[in-house]
């Protein structure tokens, strides 16, 4: 115990008030610190969860002329993503399997297997989509033929506009069930 503390006796009426004042200032400072930290955290957290906050637009992208796709064929097409930044390099584009159906309509399948997202390949002679990862197989209409996929191949919206085949951009299909 040092001499300074000795001079302030417990009976001193100003002492308890001092403690209250100190306590008040301490709490006030801690409170201010907490608030400033919380405010500062907003942009930091925002940077982390930004992908969930943005509302994404979709775009129709032309993938070719109607004559490029003979009836009954399935071909790989690629297109610019909706959020293609100029600095994205090779990742500005995604691919899809475009099928020109026998009834003249088009179907655009995502290349991602619904099991774990690996890229499926179209095997023309076998008329099957096959996944290299865990043995998923789909028929030409996108239905599951074999293996672990829980769902049929996801599709993009397709339209024909002035002889141009266009598909609508969509997020990477995620299987969630």
């Amino acid at each position: 115990m040092n001499s300074n503390e000795k001079t302030q006796s417990a009976e001193d009426p100003t002492r308890s008030e001092d403690i209250n004042r100190t306590e008040f200032i301490t709490r006030l400072s801690l409170g201010i610190a907490a608030i400033s930290a919380a405010i500062m955290a907003v942009p930091v957290i925002a940077a982390l969860v930004a992908p969930l906050l943005e509302r994404k637009q979709t775009f129709w992208r032309t993938v070719g002329n109607i004559d490029d796709f003979p009836v009954g064929t399935t071909q790989l097409v690629n297109f610019d993503n909706a959020d293609a930044e100029p600095y994205a390099g090779m990742l500005t584009r995604s691919a899809a399997w475009l099928r020109h159906n026998e009834d003249q309509t088009f179907t655009a399948f995502a290349v991602n297997c619904t099991h774990l997202g690996c890229p499926v390949r179209w095997e023309e002679k076998a008329q099957l989509f096959m996944c290299p990862c865990h043995g998923g197989v789909y028929y030409k209409d996108g239905n599951v033929a074999a293996g672990p996929p829980p769902k049929r191949l996801p599709e993009y919206k397709v339209r024909v506009n002035n002889q141009e085949v266009q598909l609508e951009t969509a997020p990477l299909p995620i299987t969630n069930d």
Binding site: D83, A126, G147, A170
Partner: protein
């Protein structure tokens, strides 16, 4: 001169308090026996240090941008002076760290060192295990070749299976709706800043706890841990038997870690860095994402588990595993520590070990995948002993067998994939009728070919397969 040095040291030590800080750590008493079993933990720490050092060096050469990352990796691997060996030391260091973390954990469980009062040692260790796995995974993505890009898609899909919030989690991982430049910078930030920061904190905690509770003594059958008396008993035990950490114990740690480091350098030198796959693009789809070996274990699990329970298993499985790991010290924190007296615990260890190794071996072979590179079956191979066969059924059958994709999954006389049954002797097993039904309708894990084959093709294929005896 000597005096001057001595005085300088005394001054420095007085003003910094270095020896006050370090000496208790260096001198702290450790149990005298079983010191070789403790080398796994220190070796893991050594590996982490190695990873930090080589990682920092790699960051001098790496371009964390989706346009340039792949090219900078090519530069590191094929051009930079010592770049290849640097990358491969980092790669084999990661592998070693994962193996050592596993061994360290197994040894801790076998000797039940997680029991009172060392529960938090175990829990901080589980955190470190999870961080290590996450580092291994993000590190693999940073290669940003087609394998890295597609592995990110696979990871997003796995997260996507989490009920309700799965899609959001997947989007959060990728940093957007699709893989893009932001995905790479996120993985980079996790791998280089965020997770390492947590590892530093938890390694600090882990080491402090070792110091606080002391290294656990070798278990002895019949010597029970009682929380009421253990601390006192341990204190007395140390007083009677302990030796100072430095230098009586530390040399084993240093020697073991050095052997591992030399091993890694040898591996890195002899085998080089893992080859890069093609450049990253979501449009080059002729790629087969194959994770590094430590992720193959999970990959194999996803291929083999019953597909119906998969969505639940992908969420509940990892969650349950982590929960079990965390509560192990609370399930029993007292009593026997000796493995001889804990037969069920040892049985569990053996099961987990066998399970992990089998998944790894299977995963490396991945027999469930179609083999797209299967060499086309030849007539000579299909009819051994009758080369130059002019039987038109066989000639056309062989062609159909390859063209229609049968061969991706089925083998005939060592030509073809392993996903489906071997058909080398199918003629003995199935009648032509059974074959026809099977091909038209598919079944099990086989697609129905009814809509793809013409009647003639079907007949040819069936008669060809019937000849395979």
């Amino acid at each position: 001169m000597k005096r001057l040095l001595k005085r300088t040291w005394h001054w420095l030590d007085d003003r910094t308090g270095l020896s006050v800080l370090i000496k208790p750590l260096v001198d702290h008493p450790v149990p005298p026996r079983g010191l070789w079993t403790y080398v796994f933990g220190s070796a893991t720490l050594f590996m982490f240090t190695l990873q930090v050092v080589t990682g920092v060096a790699l960051s001098l050469l790496y371009q964390p941008s989706s346009t340039n990352a792949y090219h900078s990796l090519e530069f590191i691997t094929y051009q930079a002076k010592f770049g290849n060996i640097l990358r491969s030391i980092h790669f084999y260091g990661a592998s070693a760290m994962i193996i050592l973390v596993g061994l360290h954990m197994m040894q801790t469980y076998i000797t039940a060192s997680y029991k009172y009062p060392r529960e938090m040692n175990w829990i901080s260790g589980v955190f470190l295990l999870l961080f290590t796995i996450f580092m291994g995974f993000t590190g693999q993505l940073l290669r940003w070749d087609s394998n890295g890009v597609w592995s990110s898609v696979v990871a997003a899909q796995q997260l996507g299976r989490v009920p309700v919030i799965g899609t959001y989690l997947a989007r959060l991982l990728l940093g957007g709706d699709t893989i893009g430049p932001q995905s790479l910078t996120r993985f980079y930030s996790y791998h280089v800043f965020i997770i390492p920061a947590f590892i530093f904190i938890f390694v600090g905690l882990h080491l402090w706890l070792i110091f606080r509770h002391g290294i656990s003594e070798m278990p002895k059958a019949g010597r029970l841990v009682d929380p009421k008396t253990y601390r006192k008993w341990y204190e007395n035990y140390l007083k009677r038997f302990a030796i100072p950490f430095w230098p009586h114990a530390v040399w084993r740690d240093v020697l073991f870690s050095s052997i591992i480091v030399i091993g890694i350098i040898l591996f890195a030198w002899l085998r080089g860095a893992p080859a890069l796959t093609t450049s990253p693009s979501l449009t080059s789809i002729h790629t087969s994402p194959s994770p590094d070996w430590y992720m193959v274990i999970f990959f194999a699990l996803f291929a083999l588990m019953p597909h119906k329970v998969e969505s639940i298993a992908m969420t509940v499985g990892p969650l349950l595993t982590v929960i079990i790991l965390f509560i192990i010290p609370f399930l029993s924190n007292r009593g026997e520590r000796s493995p001889i007296r804990r037969p069920w615990a040892m049985f569990g260890v053996i099961c987990v070990f066998v399970f992990v190794i089998s998944l790894l071996l299977l995963g490396l072979k991945h027999p469930w995948s179609a083999d797209f590179d299967a060499k086309p079956l030849t007539v000579a191979a299909a009819r051994p002993g009758s080369s130059g066969s002019t039987d038109s059924t066989v000639i056309h059958g062989v062609q159909l067998f390859y063209n229609k994709g049968c061969e991706y999954c089925h083998t005939i006389n060592n030509y073809g994939g392993k996903a489906g049954p071997d058909l080398s002797t199918v003629g003995n097993r199935l009648t032509t009728q059974a074959l026809t039904i099977r091909i038209i309708n598919g079944g099990g894990n086989m697609p129905a070919y009814g809509g793809t084959l013409s009647t003639r093709e079907l007949q040819t294929l069936v008669s060809f397969l019937s000849t395979q005896k």
